[in-house]
Subunit: 322 residues, 2 copies
């Protein structure tokens, strides 16, 4: 019998600015973690070398007598089927990057890769708020809006690996144009941190009311909107009410697609707590058919944001079939 | 070895007015089919007896020396997990009807049941336009709009069996109120046969233009709109263009959810052919992220409408594990 306490996985979470990595055991404990600057490495080879140099001493120290089973990676535009990062707008490396293959060549270990939202979904399913669930959706509310969808206990990847782009679905046809995709009225245009700041600026322009928000000018961001809202600022509160309404309507649509047991909200925007939760829940329920009402748990992630993607990425390793 | 040519399944498609049934072999050939009036039987027991009386001679005649492996049923509001029909608005039988159990008791055969759109999806996957596909969506465009979603080669049923209610997702927030659900702006409110007739009436009221449609008054339905459109009637053509736009926008959202290889359109509304296909395709592509564009096949069902649900229902039988 294999002693699972002697098996380890490496989890890597690649962001546009920072890369976080950790050594994880079967219980989802991160034994040690570290960071490096993604954008210090204009060439992918240099980046892989830097990861190798950073991880080798950690492996020696912690794995002592055990086995590292492989490397799991969460990356923007990561494709599980091909192990490649494909045209990621926020990374230096352009085109199609065969990262999984490069990692295996350098480390001599099996490697698997998926996008960051899918990694977070796997983290929640294995160690977080979605433990034991076979049907749930995670929505990541950060600079952008991402999603990972689990049905029948499996990630939905689609025929090409690109499934789960719920942030780009349209919820206000003809509405706000997205700064990057140019699509009008997508969920991301409203419910991302970026969208929240845009909403705040629009509301300030349309109103003559006094507001704490007015002093920040170009520095206004979703964090400031949150801080002003809890101080009782009316416009800041209205920004969250409006954001929650749009998010709630979008979640109702998603529920009628895959009828999940829960929707897990994740990412920077959820720091606003009830300010975002209450209007989201209200408008979600309001837009559901009766057969779906008062059934779907709307919950916040239980994992530390910094850990979820490392844990999720590492959990990919346990699925690798050699 | 089992001789598959000697194995048969019974497929039953329950509609509000008619029930269609057939005896099907492993190659998807319907050896014989028949019909009875669903609404002749106010009590479910009488209905099950009538099915037994109708099917018994067929079984004797065709199964001669072989085995009937079981009964598969497609029914409105059919729940695969429980084998029950639950609160179907268009059926006489109210509440929760344990049809699968009743059939097994009467026939002495295993039985499985799902909703009609899921049955059609299974029919397309096994014998129709989606043969060999692991990721596709079927949209049924009839009196209502239904859907069956297949991902990773499996039907998405959701945690409670209710997944795939894409007709009730909202595509025009604050738009047309649905006659039955009271939800504003759902796909079904516009893209069903009922919705098409409403659009035609709205356009006639808003316009002073001459139109062939004006002579039909209250009898105006989607079939008449189609007939007038192919005769060159401007308003009738505009009805289909508008319907296709809304459907195309909705399909773009669905694609960003599960990234299917194909979307299969099914049901009475597709008789309009290019009149509905062309605007749907145009607006679907227009609303997709570039990574999804020009990849998803938008196709019409290849199965005769009368056969698809019988075939799909019968195919459920091959999945039953005894």
């Amino acid at each position: 019998m294999i002693d699972l306490s002697k098996e380890f996985a490496i989890g890597i979470d690649i962001g546009g600015t920072n890369t976080k990595y950790g050594i994880v055991n079967h219980r989802g404990e991160i034994l040690e973690k570290g960071e490096l600057k993604t954008d210090d490495y204009p060439e992918i080879e240099g980046y892989v070398d830097a990861l190798y140099d950073a991880l080798t001493p950690l492996i020696k120290q912690h794995v002592n007598g055990g086995t590292v089973k492989g490397i799991g990676i969460g990356a923007p535009n990561g494709n599980y089927y091909t192990g490649t990062i494909e045209y990621a707008p926020n990374l230096h490396w352009k085109g199609i990057i065969p990262l999984s293959k490069l990692m295996t060549a350098k480390f001599g270990l099996p490697s698997a890769l998926t996008n960051d939202a899918n990694a977070a979904a796997i983290g929640e399913m294995n160690y977080g708020a979605a433990r034991g669930m076979r049907d749930f959706i995670i929505i990541t509310l950060g600079t952008g809006v991402g999603s990972g969808i689990v049905a029948n206990g499996q990630l939905i990847l689609g025929h090409d690996g690109y499934a789960g782009e719920l942030g780009h679905t349209v919820i206000r046809p003809g509405g706000r144009k997205h700064w990057s995709t140019q699509i009008n009225g997508s969920v991301e245009a409203y419910c991302s941190a970026t969208g929240i700041a845009i909403t705040a600026n629009e509301m300030l322009n349309e109103s003559k009311e006094d507001s704490l928000l007015r002093q920040y000018g170009e520095n206004l961001d979703s964090k400031i909107v949150y801080e002003c809202a809890i101080k009782g600022d009316k416009i800041a509160q209205e920004v969250y009410r409006f954001t929650g309404q749009i998010l709630g309507e979008a979640l109702a649509n998603f529920i009628m697609f895959s009828s999940p047991e829960a929707i897990v909200l994740f990412g920077g925007v959820i720091k606003a707590g009830d300010l975002i939760m209450n209007p989201t829940k209200e408008h979600m329920e309001k837009n559901l058919l009766p057969i779906f009402q008062n059934k779907v748990k709307l919950i916040f992630s239980e994992l530390k944001e910094a850990d979820a993607a490392i844990l999720g990425a590492s959990a990919l390793v346990w699925e690798i079939r050699e």
